[in-house]
Symmetry: C3
Subunit: 196 residues, 3 copies
């Protein structure tokens, strides 16, 4: 079979239910989600299944969800049904809460890195945030944008932060703190809220 169609050689391309310039912010946004998805695919290849079965399961779920997100962003057809819902966000929050407890108490920023997989997860975290910024721009510019995608990306970047820390913690690699600022993390939403 032939995968290249040459139809996009002049700078226009297809959406689901439309056609637009390739440098349209909508295409930019799902293009970045594709980039993000690829970095998650990379992190998957760096995680030992014997130690990280849970995180690997999360990441494969996330890869599918990112296709849901990308498809929803690409979809401007009249009879569209969006695939994303708030459910995966809630599931991800539960996982964040678990993973974050694996590392030592977090008070200061940490240098992104440590082990190879953690470094890649940090990279994916920052690309998630780039995708989020582009969805914000898209949402300001156009109407057919499901708000749940933006929430999903916001939470995903926190998941990836928590996962990177957990990976280092399980491999006994300490995160290096950035010490040239005051303490920045507050214990949001737990018991001792008043003390912070």
């Amino acid at each position: 079979m032939k995968i290249y169609t040459k139809t996009g050689d002049k700078g226009k391309t297809g959406l689901i239910g439309g056609r637009t310039d390739k440098d349209n912010i909508r295409v930019e946004a799902y293009g970045t989600i594709d980039e993000l998805n690829s970095f998650i695919g990379k992190a998957v290849t760096e995680l030992d299944p014997a130690i990280f079965a849970d995180i690997l399961e999360d990441l494969e779920t996330i890869q599918h969800e990112l296709f849901d997100c990308g498809g929803d962003l690409a979809n401007v057809s009249n009879r569209r049904v969006y695939k994303m819902t708030d459910e995966p966000i809630e599931a991800m929050e539960k996982r964040i809460d678990v993973l974050v407890e694996e590392g030592p108490v977090l008070e200061r920023f940490i240098l992104p890195g440590g082990t190879p997989a953690a470094a890649t997860l940090h990279i994916a975290r920052t690309i998630t945030r780039r995708a989020e910024r582009q969805v914000v721009t898209l949402t300001k510019a156009e109407e057919e944008v499901p708000a749940v995608v933006q929430r999903y990306l916001n939470r995903l970047s926190d998941y990836l932060f928590a996962a990177a820390r957990a990976v280092n913690a399980r491999l006994n690699v300490s995160d290096v703190e950035y010490v040239r600022s005051a303490k920045v993390f507050k214990n949001v939403g737990s018991v001792k809220k008043e003390e912070e």
Copy 2:
């Protein structure tokens, strides 16, 4: 020798035959080609020459061609001669047709990843597409932009997809399908040629 000249410390920089702001879309476009080139350099380090001699040869050729593309984009001089032609595109199409047959029939999107080199090739694929989007913007904004560069990038992203699949296939790693959409790939050019 000294490699830093400090001449760009205030945000202006040199083109071939001109001078401009560093955040000019032209500089952005060849800057992204440089980023892409670096990811291809990364993929090269992850491929075993005993198994992937052909793909390694392709990738080194592509690295040189990306310099041709970048130089052409940087070139606004009056007496300029562009380096890129359609020939490398045709050569790449032949390679895509070969590589795509190595994997199983393609019907649905696949999760980017699998083996380390395939994951990096998917990353490079998405950065190629970012570069393509920027060249589209540049072409709309300015006159001296060789159209062949845009075609080259469009085809390169398909080459990188085909190469990523072939890498996984040779290493007996199956690509995971994204199953939550209908079949998306059509056998272009074999039966129904009219839609091209």
Copy 3:
């Protein structure tokens, strides 16, 4: 503890001393510095401490300095004190001068890649340049932007180039030259200083 606060779910976020849209160019700029920092964290995991102690020390210093830069860019408060100064730039210049001498004389562009760590350093180099472009845009748009950050990023991209070459040289991997252009590197600062 909970790391996610959900406060940014609607596209607005906090600066140091302010609040803004997430797709603001200021947020974009320090977001890219965060991305860059993550790639440097990745390179760190690929360098053998027995061979690259000096470069590893540089890179950890740089990771802290990138937080200084990011924090300064995020800081729009009235009583702000910037953390970045010209001192780290001068220190980096000394290191560039040392590292650049480790490789063979540089006359032509080289293909980014070689060894895994060098490839990652080249990637980081190109992302540094993306960050630099965004700081240029930010500086044109707003007033509270420390000019030293832009200089720092400009020099950092040269440092990363020099480091990538030194890594390959120490591992006896020759950089492949791009031969389809004339010689591009001049020995700046040794003989003819006037052109700076």
